[in-house]
Assembly symmetry: C2
Homo-oligomer: 265 residues x 2
């Protein structure tokens, strides 16, 4: 019903068209867009006209196409990312007000950590996470936290993959990674030095909504060599519990209980 002669579904084409817009290319002309998605201009024209009708794409004053606010609205209303963000923002702001220079909130999305929020004090720590940006799970402290609390089958799949060495310090050996994951489960946090960029270290803790299942991660990024773990880790863990509570769950010791008032998440 919904497939083109080439067998590609309309939905897949729409996703490709919407994905062509990004931070570096927020506005595209029709021909530019057609080139970028490798489809005939006439095909793109038809799909774009429908997307404009729905408000998912709009034309700017120069006639170029952009994402419409309607797309953002559609995605935000039912989004777990939005409820997580709203729950996490005040505790994250508290961390910044208490001297943290960079904090970020991640969710697991396939083999990547997707960063759904990031706050930064005005200083110069290198932090390559971006809102709606991704990092591979083995290339960031947040990813290792997700793997530590993942189901065994997911962990084994992760450990059996060939992992790219992103810096000298990226850990790619299954046995070393296995030891790190066990340590994370024991200590409730991880600190990794320079695994994605040499100058920065990441310290991450899980955010739980059920026992031993990390629904998200909270991370601090600090200049390499300045990991004052005895200061940073307790603050991160307290902020993580505050987020759990704001999501409608009660962290009590090592157990998590659903509160009677339902939350959006």
């Amino acid at each position: 019903m919904a497939n083109s002669p080439s067998g590609e579904s309309v939905i897949h084409r729409v996703v490709r068209i919407l994905s062509a817009f990004g931070e570096d290319s927020p506005a595209l002309g029709l021909r530019e867009l057609a080139r970028s998605v490798d489809l005939p201009v006439s095909t793109v024209y038809r799909l774009v006209s429908e997307l404009e009708l729905e408000g998912l794409l709009v034309r700017d004053t120069a006639g170029r196409l952009r994402h419409g606010h309607r797309l953002w609205e559609l995605a935000s209303r039912g989004s777990r990312a939005s409820s997580l963000r709203e729950a996490a923002l005040p505790p994250m702001e508290d961390l910044i007000n208490h001297g943290f220079s960079h904090v970020s909130l991640g969710v697991l999305e396939g083999n990547d950590v997707l960063y759904i929020e990031r706050l930064a004090a005005d200083d110069a720590t290198v932090n390559i996470t971006k809102i709606a940006g991704r990092l591979p799970v083995h290339g960031c402290s947040a990813g290792l936290v997700f793997m530590a609390y993942a189901q065994e089958v997911v962990q084994e799949m992760f450990l059996s993959r060939r992992l790219e060495k992103l810096t000298e310090d990226t850990v790619t050996e299954p046995e070393k990674l296995r030891a790190i994951l066990a340590e994370i489960r024991g200590r409730g946090y991880v600190s990794m030095r320079g695994i994605i960029v040499p100058e920065s270290s990441g310290i991450s803790v899980p955010i739980f909504t059920e026992k031993n299942h990390a629904v998200a991660t909270l991370s601090a990024i600090v200049p390499r060599g300045e990991e004052s773990l005895n200061l940073i880790v307790p603050h991160l863990k307290i902020a993580s519990s505050a987020i759990t509570r704001r999501l409608g769950y009660e962290p009590s010791g090592r157990e998590i209980q659903r509160r009677s008032t339902p939350a959006a998440f």
Copy 2:
């Protein structure tokens, strides 16, 4: 190519399916979803399977459908709402830290103001704006600011519509509205008492990226009767200029200039 026998396009159906999820219904079973969009279960099943393949919908542990993080990611990357949010968040936080109880950031979307960010101090002022929530333009101070700086043809369309009286104080008479819009252009702000809920007042200023065109609005919501305009308005205007600057424009007197460094917006 992409239409069902009923003539409804796949894209329109997909938008209807994705719109069925919201704050009150973040997770839906297949039958529940089919009922809510008024389509046969078999049709919804086919479309949902494709949306799952794209990661736009996912199943939770109970087997119910939810928006996938991928949808949020897709919408956030190219979104003007996201760049606006990022530019506006620090100045908005400054307002909260300086004693403002509620501030919100709005964009114009059709006949509504769509709120793309909202910050609140912990107190009891009634504020019905929600992130990704909407209010009709004549029912909020932000909407009147958008109308004040809209093109004349848009203003006239607005003034000729039959507007609903949402409270006793909602202004719906074209002549009164015309006077309010002129006043906004003269003063650069508006303060409206109880036009959508009787207990609260809204004070809004435009955020400019070109002269006399409001790309967004910044609003403070205060308990009715506590509109200390001599304190609130200058703070809002300063924050608005800060946001303009963070978007890559230079507000200088009554003119706005694009800075050489391009911004995402």
